[in-house]
């Protein structure tokens, strides 16, 4: 309440044109997320969860509405400016890890630093730190196909955090993992949130969703339920 929102969506719409028909993936969505929040986005398949996350991550643009990130309208930024925002403020974690198969774990983690033009020495220090943080020192020179699913997702999380973003966006990060490994990955993400990083997780798992301090329930492109508003209303 006192904090200004970090992420603010006002009347955001996203319409996909499929041949003659239109798919309303997001309808007039209003959401505010404060810095350091832990939000779970849930809802049935096709309800628009991923679309929402992609919009927040600047991988996609709304057809209508306003998106303010840290108080600034980011929908009107040029593609290069948006790339810079992604690079510096946002970290992605995907269901299918999305590691570059020909690069080692360390090289995959270094990728955002490399793309940002950071000098090799500083890069090496930060990668070494990230490898240590996620218990991957022994796996630094392994390629993704030599790693277990849990290890792959830890590499992906290390990569998402190595630029020290303000927001982590995770789209079903445990979807390809068994329960125990998934738990471990969630704990890592929660630790990051504990250090003040805003965490937004899309999940189908009610148990995981309920661990978050705030739940957003999507249905047919609309926000059906927001636990934060419910709390305020009561």
């Amino acid at each position: 309440m006192s904090n200004p929102p970090q992420i603010e969506l006002r009347g955001v719409e996203r319409v996909f044109q499929l041949g003659d028909s239109q798919v309303h993936a997001l309808r007039r969505l209003d959401v505010s997320i404060a810095p350091g929040e832990y939000v779970a986005v849930m809802g049935p398949s096709g309800s628009g969860k991923s679309t929402l996350l992609n919009l927040i991550g600047l991988l996609d643009r709304p057809n209508a509405g306003l998106y303010l990130l840290e108080g600034r309208d980011v929908t009107t930024l040029s593609p290069d400016e948006q790339a810079r925002v992604r690079s510096e403020r946002i970290g992605f974690v995907f269901q299918s890890f999305h590691l570059v198969p020909r690069l080692t774990a360390a090289e995959n983690i270094a990728l955002p630093l490399t793309l940002a033009g950071i000098a090799p020495r500083e890069r090496a220090e930060r990668v070494a730190l990230a490898l240590a943080d996620y218990g991957l020192e022994a796996r630094a020179d392994h390629r993704p196909d030599q790693l277990s699913g849990g290890q792959r997702q830890r590499v992906a999380i290390a990569r998402a955090t190595v630029m020290q973003p303000a927001v982590i966006l995770a789209d079903e990060p445990t979807g390809n993992l068994d329960r125990a490994t998934g738990e471990e990955v969630i704990r890592l993400l929660e630790q990051l949130n504990g250090r003040g990083v805003t965490l937004i997780i899309v999940t189908h798992d009610p148990n995981l969703g309920n661990r978050a301090r705030r739940q957003l329930l999507m249905e047919d492109g609309e926000l059906r339920h927001d636990s934060a508003l419910e709390g305020a209303a009561k």
Binding site: P79, E88, S96, V100, P112, T114, L115, G117, P120
Partner: protein
């Protein structure tokens, strides 16, 4: 809370860009090898074919140079252009080019020395051995004018051109075939129906365009005239006093002959330089044509690079989407693909350069007298074309990669 920083995003560092492109190329070795090979074949073709073309040019130029230095040649018959024209050889002769004409040319102040030349084929026999030979009738200065050297004995004596003593000088091959290890000097031989004493043997040279001096028998011009029953000379070979005197020697030769031939210029006077220039031009154009044909194979290689890069963009869609999610700008993605295309064509160009030079060296090894060296301009043009076409044809795939929608790219498995 930290606000969105407005600092300029530094671009990807060049070494990182190159390493990334290299790793991407190494990720698919078969594809990379095929592309490198296709560019290499194009470059190697340019190098080898221009080596052949320029080798032919050098060969001809060398052959001409070995005829003698500062050479001016008078031939009977008039050619319209005045330049060198092989058709001169069959032009009908209105007036004989005689020994007296040749002698008169000695008046020319720019003319150092000259030799009349009459050529025909005949038979030479000694001790029952018989061989058909080319007989050249000339005078004592022929050996200097033609830059030949004597291995044994001496050349034709300085004597009256109209008479001539029955002496002959033979080429090295003739000597070997007729006499073997036996001494040849002083021997009597029969050439046609006349007897000659061998007074000299030419040093083996193996050169001379169209007239190999190793297989030549040289006799005094007057005796050759009698032998072939001919009054007209085949050529008059003139050596000017210096290189600068070549045009003057030519002018004087024309003037003197014209005077003697009732004011009509019915001979053609050509200079070695003119012949050389003609051949040089002709073969130079041929080399360029060959290089052009070889360059087409490079363009084909460029198109291949483009198609393979397009396939590679399609295969790496997910990776491109990921790079965008990680903050890569469109230009960074364009650059990585361009760098990859440039590296592939550069590697191809280097491999082709080495292969081409190896090919040229092999040709030189197989044919030692053929100077098959690729000209520098062709090598540079080949390398530049390979690089340029690789980069040029890499632009479309790079653009396509940069324009990919990151969401769709990421959702593709």
């Amino acid at each position: 809370m930290s606000a969105i920083r407005r600092s300029r995003h530094p671009p990807m560092r060049a070494p990182d860009l190159i390493r990334f492109a290299r790793d991407a190329a190494m990720g698919n070795l078969l594809r990379t090898a095929l592309l490198v090979l296709s560019v290499a074949i194009g470059v190697a073709a340019v190098v080898v074919l221009t080596a052949l073309g320029d080798g032919a040019r050098r060969y001809v130029v060398n052959e001409f140079s070995s005829l003698g230095s500062n050479l001016v040649i008078v031939l009977p018959g008039r050619s319209e252009t005045g330049g060198f024209n092989p058709a001169n050889a069959i032009t009908s002769t209105p007036r004989d080019l005689t020994i007296n004409d040749a002698q008169a040319l000695l008046r020319g102040t720019a003319i150092r020395r000259l030799a009349p030349l009459l050529v025909g084929t005949s038979e030479i026999s000694v001790d029952g051995k018989l061989r058909e030979v080319m007989v050249a009738g000339t005078t004592t200065q022929f050996i200097q004018v033609r830059n030949l050297a004597i291995a044994q004995g001496r050349f034709l004596p300085d004597e009256d051109w109209e008479r001539g003593s029955a002496e002959a000088v033979i080429g090295a091959t003739i000597r070997d075939e007729l006499f073997g290890p036996e001494p040849a000097l002083g021997k009597l031989v029969r050439i046609g129906d006349r007897r000659f004493r061998i007074v000299g043997v030419l040093k083996a040279s193996g050169q001379g365009l169209g007239m190999n001096s190793d297989e030549l028998v040289i006799v005094p011009v007057a005796l050759a005239q009698a032998m072939f029953n001919s009054n007209t000379l085949f050529r008059i070979l003139i050596e000017s006093r210096s290189r600068e005197d070549i045009p003057a020697a030519k002018a004087q030769a024309e003037e003197i002959i014209k005077q003697r031939h009732d004011g009509e210029l019915d001979v053609t006077v050509i200079t070695q330089d003119a012949m050389l220039a003609t051949f040089d031009r002709l073969l130079g154009v041929m080399t360029m044509g060959v290089a052009g044909i070889a360059a087409i194979s490079l363009a084909v290689a460029g198109i291949l690079v483009m198609n393979v890069m397009l396939v590679s963009v399609a295969q790496r869609t997910a990776e491109i989407g990921l790079l965008k999610a990680l903050g890569a700008t469109g230009s960074a993605i364009r650059l990585t693909f361009l760098a990859e295309a440039a590296m592939l064509s550069l590697a191809g160009a280097v491999v082709g350069f080495v292969l081409g030079h190896a090919g040229a060296a092999l040709i030189r090894h197989l044919y030692p007298t053929f100077p098959a060296y690729p000209p520098a301009w062709a090598v540079l043009a080949g390398l530049a074309t390979a690089l340029a076409s690789g980069i040029l044809f890499g632009v479309t795939p790079a653009r396509r990669a940069a324009a990919l929608d990151p969401i769709q790219a990421l959702s593709k498995r």
